[in-house]
């Protein structure tokens, strides 16, 4: 589904990602760990093609096609979708109008909007005056309406209260695994995802297949995501950096 080869990215002349290799298979959910400022969000923003993230080396292959130089729209139309940490205030753009334009199945969108208690936000300007949790609910609602094949989630649980996390977690699970009967089926027909998490809370809801640790713009390690989370909680990221240096 997604293959990232030797990806090197600069923001305003500063090198943020250095030779990143990473891939996400069809139906797999991969998780990105790493300390603040490691370049995790930058990686997701680069994958979506947002301006300001300049690829100076390497390539991004999505569904077998090199998308490194494609526009944001083209990537979205090919089936990529993103939930960013801080979406912009969309003054004048009503949530309902946006959903109408992007919904693949308007009926499903309306039902989900009810479930997420977002109907009362339909006539509001997207993100304007929304709380942290409301932004996440609105984002997951939009993503579900869009129904992409590869989903990029940047800390979906941050700023969300405990009750809402449960609701959000279930919605993400539904989005990723909709219609899959079993684990085998998920790997064949499920959605792919790349998820950034600090706390690992979202892993209580979704099956994660592979974890990556990103430090200083480089992939330090990859492995079983749950084990990785336990290790990080125990010994922090310093050990990963040391480990990588020793190997060199």
């Amino acid at each position: 589904m997604l293959e990232i080869n030797n990806l090197t990215v600069e923001i305003g002349g500063r090198r943020i990602l250095k030779g990143v290799d990473l891939n996400v298979k069809t139906g797999y959910t991969n998780v990105l760990f790493g300390p603040n400022g490691a370049g995790k969000s930058a990686l997701l923003m680069t994958l979506m093609g947002f301006s300001g993230y300049n690829v100076v080396e390497g390539e991004i292959i999505f569904k077998g096609e090199d998308i490194t130089n494609m526009s944001v729209s083209e990537r979205a139309q090919m089936g990529m979708g993103i939930m960013t940490q801080r979406p912009p205030n969309m003054s004048g753009v009503k949530l309902h109008d946006l959903l109408n334009v992007i919904s693949k199945d308007p009926k499903d969108t309306d039902i989900l909007a009810e479930t997420l208690d977002m109907v009362r936000f339909f006539e509001r300007d997207v993100n304007v005056g929304f709380s942290g949790g409301e932004i996440k609910r609105s984002e997951i609602l939009q993503l579900s309406a869009q129904n992409p094949d590869l989903i990029l989630l940047d800390e979906p649980e941050s700023g969300v209260d405990l009750v809402s996390i449960d609701q959000l977690g279930h919605t993400i699970k539904e989005l990723l695994q909709k219609g899959c009967k079993c684990a085998g089926d998920r790997c064949k027909h499920g959605k792919s995802a790349l998820v950034i998490t600090h706390t690992g809370q979202v892993l209580d809801y979704i099956e994660a297949d592979r974890g990556y640790i990103l430090c200083n713009g480089t992939v330090m390690c990859s492995g079983n995501p749950r084990e990785m989370l336990t290790d990080i909680k125990k010994q922090g990221y310093e050990e990963c950096i040391k480990c990588k240096l020793m190997k060199k």
Binding site: M48, F50, S51, S71, V72, S73, R75, A76, Q77, G81, I82, P87, P88, N89, M90, S91, G92, V93, K94, D97, L98, V101, I102, D125, Q142, Q146
Partner: protein, 407 residues
Amino acid sequence: MQADEEMKKRAEAALGKNAAYGEDFNLDEYGIAPDNAEKADNLEELSEEDQRTLLNVGFTPSEDNRSGSLIMLDNTVTHTSLRDKDVVELMSLKDAMKKHEWVKDYMWKLVKPDADKYTAMSYLQKANGYFIRAPEGKKSKMPVQTCLLIGSKQVSQTVHNIVVVEKGAELDIITGCSAKHGIDKGLHLGISEMYVKKGATLNFTMVHNWAEQIGVRPRTVVHVEEGGTYISNYITLKPVKSIQSYPTVILEGKGAFARLNTIAVAHPGSELDLGSRVIFNAEDTKAELISRTITIGGNAIARGEMIGNANNAKGHLECHGLVLGGGMQRAIPILEANVEDIELSHEAAVGRIARDQIEYLMARGLSEEESVGMIVRGFLDVGIQGIPDELKADIDATIAMIGEKAI
């Protein structure tokens, strides 16, 4: 009579007086617009092109859902029809002066003839226009529509409108201003004096659709009494040479309210100098001035002024301007408090559409044009009610054009 003579002298002296600011027009370059055009009783017999011109400024030739209609072509009122005779009075100003002696008491009371050369010209020409009155306590369900049309080349059209909404009455007016197809140069000078009496409401929507070489100099003052409401929506989305407009609303009675919305697009070569002014002369008065301007190569100046002269008055001014593909935006907000207990605020922002907003929508699968279009549509949407469908379609087409041009 002596007073009239005196006024005439002052107006004559003011013929050389330029407006306080902005581009000047030499009135000698323009002929006087004819006042002998043929009457047009049945609007559906007008040419398709003329009907389209009317539709594009919100005027419905079929007169469906309208309580009355009036058209002024150059300096002739060519059409007047009225359905709801009980709830509204509609006629040319000249006919009104013949019918009611008191009409003159409303003329040149709010606008001074010697304010500048444009008011002086309109005064000396004894300009005709529309007279609309809602009698005490009457509420018309449907709006009155009027159209001021320039039909001759290189003329100056002079218009004088009087609107009176009597105590407790409610009135909706849609006024469209345009030039006939093929008219590229001309001048429109328009005086409007509007009176909103105690507890009355006036909902006034004005749509401008001029041509590239037309100069527009309206002079409007609105007087609102106790508990009265004045709502104005002003829309100008098409090319024009120069518009300079600065309607003033005087909130004279306790609890009076005004809201003025302006949405405008400045095309290459267009100079839009659009303002609105509210004077709070009584306690508990409130006003909101909202302006949304887009330049796609022309110049847009958004003036907004609030002068607070009475306690417990509240006003908010909002000027937002987008620069899309060249041109200039200038926001000039002015707030003046002359008493202590007053709350006036403003919010102004000019610039381009933020890249992250465009890409946010692109990441949802919209193309760049669609994204800009959606943001522009939202930007211009200030919640104007009752826009006719034809005009809505025209607004959508303009927005789509802006979306394409902006990239």
